[in-house]
Amino acid sequence: MASTITTPAAADDRVSTRSVGARLLSRPEIGSLVGAAAILIFFAIAAAPFRDINNVGTILYGAALIGVMAVPVSLLMVGGEFDLSAGVAVTTAGLTAGIFAYQFSVNVWLAMVVSLALALLIGAFNGWLLMKTGLPSFLVTLGTFFILQGLNIAVTRLTSGAVASNSISDMDGFSTGHAVFASQFKLGGITVKIIIVWWIVFVAIAAWFLLKTKIGNWIFAVGGDAAAARAVGVPVKRVKIGLFMAVGFFAWFTGMHLLFAQNGVVQSGEGVGKEFLYIIAAVVGGCLLTGGYGSVVGGAVGALIFGMVQLGVVYAGWNPDWFKAFLGVMLLLATIVNLVVKKKAEAR
């Protein structure tokens, strides 16, 4: 019987080089970017006002309202956790500032600091309880969700006697707060709300933070395999608590926008259900629900897709009864485009 011995090449020649394009395509957010482009083109054809450059401001505003919170929610999801209380925490932050300023007749900025402290505390509590009990974050934050939702209404009614906080629009510090959180300016023909600028800044910082810093590396690790991360010395608890506090910070920021954009009044029942929009943005943008994979830019693109679809249906003037059905089909299409792109990228 014959035996054949061949000497193989010493170097590993199995890897064909990948084009720059192919490498770009394998980034988590690229799929959703292509999905966003598809939606953009679709509505640009289907809806005339969508093409009007002056309306870009409206669309971006719709996206930014979800997008700002999608930033920490994406980070949190990469870190392997959920926060169901994120939506009502926004309202809690807004109410706290409004009620505190009104009840104690203090400068609005002081009330904002108090509100920030509370928002961070809520985040820290979520994170601490999660790590302490080892319960899934779904349950822990569900508890906080209900508690905050209840407190929002109960405390507002106790203090203002109604279900909305009293207006603080005539109080000291309101106008400066308004300038920072809810002003707008003209750029060419476009009216740009300042929250859009903030959103872009936040996305840039958070994306850099996730990919290029040590703690960003830890976030990937605690989401991908918390046991492994712990074994190599990553402070899993502190990272997770920090992530929840980041959600708290952004909830505060969004809450301040609401407070100042709505003339100093916050409705206590708002925010319920918003948490899912944030999660949807993150998932559409390519974050894995199970953690360890995703990107901040993806979350932003997810918010953009959601915002475009939501307003695009209105711009197209379609029968509003079908609105949700359109929304569903569009979302499915966007994510399927996302998927196709990813598969293509992997095959190269």
Partner: protein, 306 residues
């Protein structure tokens, strides 16, 4: 510091006499979501009546039909002396209302259920006919010279809201509905803005509650549209907006009255055998409030009772 609570405390309320009839327990069961201003005023009216009549008021709500029906059952279980209930989802709730009536508990209906309250065996109805209110609004819009109206529905699938828009359409014609999420003000704002950008011919936005109306004011500004805003329902901020002229008019159905009468009717029935309305519906609206008559209403709105 200016404004704030100190400012408000300069004006303060008063309290009336309390009835000496035996303590009673009455359940007010609505289909409201939590944190809604309109229902807050309803509840306030009911509480005022309860206080006056020496009644312990138990308020509960569930937007889900089957859930609201089960709340009626819990009221029967708790052996209350009377039930005030909304019948916006009549088919789900009426079976349990009938049970309550059969158990000897007087029931009053408020806000919704104009067509069906009699079949349930209730002793009275306090609310407005939404379709008629819509039609009246349609007439008013015609009189104001509107050309194209956007009717903003803040809860898709809600019977009363749909009836209002339908009523406007009956009398006015050029009406387009727009769905928004009432629990999301900024999102509502963006959606109305985009609608006004899309439909440049729209010159009136009819909001169906006060919060949406105020948001629509901002949205019209954002869209650079000259569309005027009309609204259903009152609130403190709404009164101010009508005064300022940013909102053209409001259709008031007097929610305070609905809550008040629904509870008071039970007390009167229990203590005196009365039936308010004499077996017919008692309409609490519509009343149009605009610059001409706002002064009379504004101070009550500020107190949260209009």
């Amino acid at each position: 510091s200016s404004g704030g609570k100190k400012e408000e405390e300069k004006a303060s309320g008063s309290s009336g006499n309390v009835a000496t009839t035996p303590r009673m327990k009455v359940a007010l069961i609505t289909h409201s979501k939590q944190g809604d201003t309109f229902w807050d005023i309803v509840r306030r009216g009911a509480e005022a009546a309860a206080q006056k009549d020496n009644i312990e008021l138990q308020y509960s709500s569930d937007p889900d039909g089957a859930g609201q029906a089960n709340l009626v059952q819990t009221a029967i279980d708790s052996k209350v002396d009377g039930i005030a209930v909304t019948l916006n989802k009549p088919d789900a709730v009426i079976p349990n209302v009938k049970k309550a009536v059969a158990a000897g508990i007087p029931v009053t209906v408020l806000n919704g259920g104009l067509d069906t309250w009699k079949t349930s065996g209730a002793i009275g109805y306090f609310g407005q006919d939404e379709r008629i209110a819509g039609q009246a609004t349609g007439e008013k819009l015609k009189a104001l010279g509107a050309k194209k109206v956007i009717c903003v529905i803040h809860e898709q699938g809600n019977v009363s809201l749909e009836a209002r828009c339908q009523g406007i359409k009956d009398k006015f014609g050029a009406v387009e509905n727009l769905n928004v999420d009432g629990a999301d003000q900024p999102g509502t704002q963006a959606t109305i803005t985009s609608k006004l950008q899309q439909d440049k011919g729209a010159d009136y936005v009819m909001a169906l509650n006060a919060g949406v109306a105020l948001t629509a004011v901002q949205a019209a500004k954002d869209a650079g549209s000259s569309a005027k805003i009309g609204s259903f329902d009152m609130s403190k901020e709404m009164a101010k907006a009508v005064q300022d002229g940013t909102v053209d008019f409001a259709v008031d159905q007097q929610p305070y009255l609905q809550g008040y009468l629904a509870v008071d009717a039970i007390w009167l029935n229990k203590t005196n055998g009365d039936t308010i309305g004499g077996g017919e519906a008692t309409l609490t609206g519509p009343a149009f409030i605009d610059k001409s008559n706002i002064e009379a209403v504004a101070k009550y709105a500020a107190a949260g009772t209009r």
